[in-house]
């Protein structure tokens, strides 16, 4: 759906531009926040409905579905994380479902929501030219989202390390592994710091990279004319796998990192 005035480059750039309010660092990507919060609320609202009337009796269909997901997450947590913790399981559930829903926005044909936003924004009088409206509907293709998630997990890694090993234990781990010798403490510290920092970076970049690439391919497919229909379908089918897998990987790695942080080497 390339409109007459746009070159392909402009079309792609337009699609990859966030709706931003503000300047510099204090700018806010309104579309990212809007869609992610909407999806998060949708997730919590629908699950809360089940939680409110959940009982040990015969479950309804939606309750069955929710319980299936909850049990799947619970099993994943139990497999990797030994010991009692009130936070990890709900954290894993939130990560899994929220990321899944955000990724799922990728399957909505790339022009629908942006076009609706374009004419909606123009009609409501926000902008003079419809082409000034930017709307990126997949929050996980925004580095801010993926880094917000991974940095929260990173903070939890540090909190758990200190909680389970103490400040001293954590400091020891940072300086005396892998080479247990005082002279090699700086080397150890550099190595361990890289290991530690690689965790949030890889978490965020993996999710972002996969979804950004997927989105880009959807946009490219959208430009090839009528043949886009089967191509779009094929890529969407494949992308369902990516969407689920990325949500699962993020959840699984969070659990693994936290269980590593909370156990002695």
């Amino acid at each position: 759906m390339v409109s007459g005035e746009q070159t392909p480059t402009q079309y792609i750039q337009h699609h990859l531009q966030n709706w931003t309010v503000g300047e510099g660092f204090w700018a806010v990507n309104v579309d990212t926040i809007f869609w992610s919060v909407l999806l998060g609320v949708l997730f919590l609202w629908s699950f809360r409905r089940v939680a409110k009337k959940s009982s040990a009796g015969v479950p309804g269909k939606w309750q069955c579905f929710v319980e299936m997901i909850v049990e799947f997450v619970d099993n994943s947590v139990k497999e990797s994380f030994h010991g009692k913790d009130k936070l990890i399981a709900p954290l894993a559930l939130t990560i899994f479902v929220w990321i899944f829903l955000m990724n799922l926005m990728d399957l909505i044909p790339v022009d629908w929501l942006p076009t609706a936003a374009m004419y909606g924004g123009y009609w409501l009088g926000f902008v003079d030219d419809p082409h000034d409206v930017y709307m990126k509907v997949v929050p996980t293709t925004d580095l801010n989202t993926t880094f917000a998630l991974s940095l929260s997990v990173f903070a939890l890694i540090i909190i758990y390390s200190i909680k389970y090993k103490g400040v001293k234990g954590f400091a020891k781990e940072m300086t005396l592994t892998p080479f247990n010798h005082w002279a090699l403490m700086p080397v150890n510290f550099v190595l361990e710091s890289i290991t530690l920092l690689a965790k949030p970076a890889s978490l965020a970049l993996r999710l972002f990279g996969n979804l950004y690439a997927g989105e880009l391919i959807f946009i490219l497919i959208a430009m090839i004319g009528l043949f886009q229909l089967p191509a779009h379908f094929a890529w969407a089918v494949f992308h369902i796998l990516v969407i689920t897998l990325q949500a699962f990987i993020f959840m699984m790695l969070t659990i693994v990192y936290l269980s590593m942080a909370s156990s002695e080497h």
Partner: protein, 156 residues
């Protein structure tokens, strides 16, 4: 695609979501699941126990049935024997009764006949005497010939 304040917003949103999930979503659901798992396990156990009980009860029933059959057969056997015995005894007694009745009948008949004969003899004697009297009245004296008549009566 720059890092900007969205990062902070998203972090806050994430923390709020996780907190809400931890407080209001996760515990009720996982409790319900665990409770149901326990219920199902209990149910399965109860079912297994009931199955075992049933098998035991069936075995017991079969045994009791066998015993009852045996007892019934014994009772029937006894009853048959007793019945046969009663029939035999009754037959015996019937025979005896008949003999007795028949014997009594014979005796009565004999005594009746004797009595009749006696009567008849008496009547014949009277008749003979009467007849002889009629004849003798005409021919002989009653007193002169009474010894002959007596002799006649004695011979009857």
């Amino acid at each position: 695609m720059n890092i900007n304040a969205t990062l902070i917003g998203q972090t806050i949103a994430f923390i709020v979501f996780v907190w809400f999930c931890m407080k209001f979503v996760w515990p009720p659901i996982i409790n319900a699941i665990e409770e149901r798992q326990k219920k199902i396990a209990d149910g399965l156990n109860a079912g297994e126990r009931a199955q075992k009980d049933l098998e035991k009860a069936q075995e017991e029933i079969a045994e009791q049935l066998k015993e009852a059959k045996q007892q019934a057969a014994e009772i029937i056997e006894q009853a048959k024997k007793r019945g046969a015995k009663i029939v035999e005894e009754e037959t015996q007694r019937g025979h005896e009764e008949r003999e007795k009745i028949v014997a009594a009948g014979h005796e009565e008949v004999a005594s009746e006949r004797n009595r009749a004969r006696e009567e008849l003899r008496k009547q014949v004697a009277v008749l003979a005497v009467t007849g002889a009297q009629k004849i003798i009245e005409r021919e002989i004296d009653k007193d002169a010939h009474s010894d002959i008549v007596e002799k006649l009566v004695a011979e009857l």
